[in-house]
């Protein structure tokens, strides 16, 4: 092993250090780069239909068995602006910045930070 190390040039050593640093940094960088609750995920029938930025204001219509559900993202919050399901619980829930709005009749789930990948770093759940 000593012979092997002695036979390496300075460039080899530098390259080794660079590769090691890059590999270790990559592990941390990939963790840091995970979403941090800034996405609005809209699922229809259990499948992700839209992934939208929470910090970009927009209004969109999501079709369902009870017609279009109008979802509004504004000022870092999201709400169901208009729904036509029987109890309109989703509409009554108002604005959220975290958690989920569920419209069971329309099979729509709108979540912000409620999913695993959107939990704040190192947490298993959030209460509130």
């Amino acid at each position: 092993m000593k012979t092997v190390i002695r036979s390496t040039t300075l460039a080899d050593k530098l390259l080794f250090i660079a590769l090691t640093t890059a590999a270790v940094a990559g592990i941390f960088y990939s963790r840091e780069a995970m979403p941090k609750g800034s996405d609005v995920i809209i699922e229809v029938d259990g499948r992700t239909a839209y992934t939208l930025a929470l910090d970009t204001d927009r209004v969109l219509s999501v079709p369902g068995p009870y017609g279009n559900t109008v979802v509004e993202i504004k000022g870092g919050r999201v709400r169901v602006k208009e729904a036509h399901c029987p109890n309109r619980l989703c509409e009554k829930q108002g604005w959220i910045t975290r958690g989920a709005i569920v419209c069971l009749p329309n099979h729509i789930v709108i979540s912000v930070g409620g999913k695993t990948e959107n939990l704040p770093k190192g947490l298993d759940a959030v209460t509130g």
């Binding site: 040039t9 109890n87 959030v126 509130g128």
Partner: protein, 336 residues
């Protein structure tokens, strides 16, 4: 150069071995249930076993939800409400169980938590800033009284004495769902996990590394993304729930109108911004948050202590109140 390659490969192999080592790991699944998101995490050595256990627990919650859904015409709770002032209704053991516990919390809190708040809460629409008139609120108040719920355990029946009464179990149902799910997970052979029915959470056992589960507690007056949490709790074999005036609310003429109504007045309770309760059971954590919120910090803290639970109360001025036991489980974020 060859040595460098060998060393690099060795390094990468070691990293892979560490990350792929055998032994129990966490499995997590999410499902929309009870008009919210339910997330179940379990510790298991087998993904098949974990998946079966989680799906079984989801089914338990789904079946329970169908029975106590306030808005579902076919639920047992709807049958009880439709027959208010008319007849006693036979219900399942789960429904009877949750109603009996709701009555216990109502009694012990002197009615600060009252599951018959239905006639008042249904008149509010916090998303559309609709509030009932003083006259409407006053008119419905006689219908809010947990003493008018008659439970006959031997016959498994529930009767609401007055016509127009409406029982709403929303204040404790998710906590109880977490309890039911946990019992089912244990039955399926799972020794550790965490069930989160939105913010009503029950943790058991320890994480694979031997640590307690980490649960963030929301800041009721969040100003930025960095300010989202007020504290973090480390929990094992405990339940935690939070009620806050920031969940469903509107502000009119500088006054905040939120969804936690005082059953004695019909108006939003004004003593607290948020209440977090840590208890052994989900249903009590969930029910006590509402009761403590309505009672306010002083009386609320007394109730929590008398019941052997722990609490974190943020009062209406932002003051922090905690039980001595809470400090062992909770670490506050910087600046709080």
């Amino acid at each position: 150069m060859k040595a460098v390659k060998v060393l690099t490969v060795l390094l990468l192999l070691t990293a892979t071995a560490v990350s792929c080592s055998n032994g129990p790991v966490e499995y997590r699944k999410t499902k929309p249930l009870m008009d919210t998101i339910v997330t179940i995490t379990v510790v298991s050595e087998s993904d098949r076993k974990a998946d079966e256990a989680i799906e079984s627990a989801f089914s338990v919650i789904s079946r329970f939800s169908d029975k106590i859904d306030f808005f579902k015409h076919t639920s047992e709770l709807s049958a009880v409400n439709r027959n208010a002032g008319i007849a006693a209704v036979t219900v399942s053991p789960e429904t009877l169980g949750v109603i009996e516990r709701a009555l216990y919390i109502a009694k012990i809190s002197g009615g600060a938590f009252d599951p018959t708040i239905g006639p008042e809460i249904r008149m509010w629409d916090f998303a559309k800033k609709v509030r009932p008139s003083d006259e409407e609120i006053r008119k419905n108040l006689p219908l809010v009284n947990y003493r008018d719920i008659v439970v006959d355990r031997s016959r498994s029946t529930v009767f609401l004495r007055k016509r127009g009464m409406l029982m709403d179990l929303g204040g404790i149902a998710k906590g109880y769902a977490a309890d039911l799910a946990l019992a089912d997970l244990k039955k399926e052979g799972i020794a550790a996990g965490i069930v989160a029915a939105a913010g009503d959470i029950r943790a058991f056992g320890l994480k694979p590394g031997g640590e307690a589960w980490r649960v963030g507690i929301m800041n009721p007056r969040q100003k930025s993304k960095a300010d989202e949490l007020i504290a973090t709790a480390r929990l094992s074999n405990k339940a935690v729930s939070t009620s806050g005036d920031y969940e469903r609310y509107f502000i009119e003429n500088g006054r905040r109108y939120h969804h936690i109504l005082d059953p004695k007045t019909g108006y939003p309770a004004a003593g607290c911004r948020s209440v977090t309760v840590i208890s052994d059971d989900g249903i009590f954590a969930d029910g006590f948050t509402t009761a403590v919120f309505v009672l306010g910090p002083e009386k609320g803290m007394r109730l929590v202590r008398d019941c052997g639970a722990d609490a974190l109360i943020i009062d209406r001025d932002g003051g922090v109140h905690t039980t001595p036991g809470l400090k062992k489980m909770v670490a506050f974020e910087n600046g709080h």
